[in-house]
Symmetry: C2
């Protein structure tokens, strides 16, 4: 039987554990908010499953729990932020707020972050930008685990990108995707559940296809869409790692579930290009038209973010399911840090 | 035997035909430059094969051969340009120059274009930005021909994106890709050659898979990487079509090989984030490291744009091959407009 936990109890547990290892309350709440939102939206790969990795990174001294975020370059519509090797979520949220403020002032903005740890689900930050009536872009590179077929070593991270657009009376349009066929976290989830993964998701460390999630975690993820997905992963690696100076994938240690290179955040105030009301009218018309596409029986056209929003509505009401392995790891944290683990 | 034509002769022919149908010399040279560069880089789908469509669009009064390009919004780092329903290449080149100028002044820039026709290979404009030591982004939406599996009508265009980065002593890194498994033009090329297309490229108009390029042209292209490619195509459609107001895919007439919705051009001056020399050092190191990845026999890691650059070097020297159908269409233009068709 799957253990199901109400979001509020999971929040409280996550906050208390983070505070115990030295994360200030305000920062802990941001980390928790991102993790729980990921679980609520069904993006379990970037949810509470990451908490044990973050905690381990902090206690090993590899993640700064209380970063002093600095703006190191500021030039009107752009800025570069140094994250002080901090736990990623509060750093990225601060940078997101700066991007929104700059887009309000300059119409568009482009904010880079370097020297920070894992920021979690990119859609979290995109949604904050979208809440301000803006278009949001977020991208980040990470330690290597992707290569094209035939490579014996991984080259880039899953290097996700997320793009979001505001809507009215509809879930916001949020595209949030990794450049692998699946996010590495989905393979983690399969490993936790003891399930095999489909052919085409990953190679083992010899560069051969595998369906064993444990081999895949030690091995190499395949990019989605062949050279196109790989090309996008390389572009993100160069933008975040080389242009912003965050360090490219091959410079990072593998297997760190809390590593991150650079992060790019873009915001576009829609009013720069057309009146917001006019935009809202047309985006509503657009969604209605796309969703009314005739389909074969059993098919339905979903907008980006719509499946996640359905899961969100369901899990807000019924709670968040935890797989056995995650439950075990959280209970270990509970014992280790003397934080009561909630009953469901 | 394939007809092979030296680039200079193809340029002269294309310029003269365009001038005959009313395109001013300066504009004609930009259109030709884009078409020939596409052929030289092996992107034949966006090369001279399009000339007959452009000519037909102009003579039907659907493309303005001599647009009066206007900046309709200008807010520092951003601008919105009205292309006066013009032939796309000179409009987009002008907008690219504006984007470069703004990025020089403001560090980053974001320029939109609406009300213009087909701009051709996006990499053309990205390369102009890259030539200025900047990161370039270009994206555009077009008339609908993509839908996810099971749809009986297309929803978005192939809605390509291109991203480029400067290098030293190496071909520039240019990623230029459509959101379909293959560019629609590749199916055109297959149809011209009388070849079948692989399974998975496209559906017929009933929403069923097809390997017949003619059925595919009337039918629906499949997005690359399933919902990920479709999600990106939707994001481009909304950004260029709704946010910039260029008109989204479903608002455009199908089968127009010279239609375009909106265009987004972004430029990032690398000096905004780190000294250019430092960037060049690290990108060189990056390319060397990526290209030295150990591979299985017969595999080689190529950077985005590298295959195109190899074809470029080859075709600059040996000339551009034309398939029989394209040759026939160009000869028809030759007769119709009294422009001598060059011998090879």
């Amino acid at each position: 039987m799957t253990f199901i936990i109400p979001q509020e109890k999971l929040r409280q547990f996550s906050n208390e554990v983070l505070i115990k290892v030295g994360v200030p309350k305000g920062h802990a709440e941001v980390v928790t908010d991102q993790l729980v939102l990921a679980n609520l939206r069904g993006v379990d790969s970037h949810g509470i499953i990451r908490l044990p990795f973050y905690v381990s990174g902090i206690v090993r001294g590899e993640i700064n729990p209380n970063p002093n975020v600095k703006v190191v370059k500021d030039g009107g519509p752009y800025a570069l932020i140094d994250g002080d090797n901090g736990i990623g979520q509060p750093v990225a949220l601060k940078a997101t707020e700066i991007a929104v403020g700059k887009a309000k002032g300059f119409g568009v903005s482009f904010v880079g972050i370097k020297n920070l740890k894992h920021i979690g689900m990119l859609g979290y930050y995109v949604m904050k930008i979208v809440d301000n009536g803006m278009v949001g872009f977020v991208s980040a590179n990470a330690s290597p685990n992707i290569a094209p077929l035939g490579c014996k070593k991984p080259i880039t991270g899953t290097n996700p990108i997320a793009i979001g657009f505001p809507t009215k009376d509809r879930p916001p349009i949020i595209l949030d995707m990794a450049m692998s066929v699946v996010a590495r976290g989905k393979i983690l989830v399969a490993a936790h559940k003891g399930e095999k993964i489909p052919e085409g998701w990953a190679m083992n460390k010899e560069g051969l296809m595998t369906t064993d999630p444990k081999e895949a975690i030690e091995g190499i993820l395949l990019p989605f869409g062949g050279y196109k997905g790989f090309g996008l992963a390389v572009a993100v690696d160069i933008l975040c790692g080389v242009v912003l100076g965050g360090g490219y994938s091959l410079k990072m240690r593998r297997g760190m579930f809390y590593s991150q290179g650079g992060v790019f955040i873009g915001a576009v105030d829609i009013n720069s290009f057309r009146p917001y009301n006019e935009y809202i009218e047309e985006i509503t018309e657009y969604i209605n038209l796309v969703k009314s596409t005739p389909t074969a029986p059993g098919f339905e056209v979903l907008m980006p973010g719509e499946p996640e929003h359905r899961t969100y509505l369901n899990r807000v009401e019924r709670g968040i399911p935890l797989d056995d392995e995650t439950l075990k790891e959280l209970k270990e944290l509970s014992i280790k840090y003397g934080v009561e683990f909630p009953t469901n």
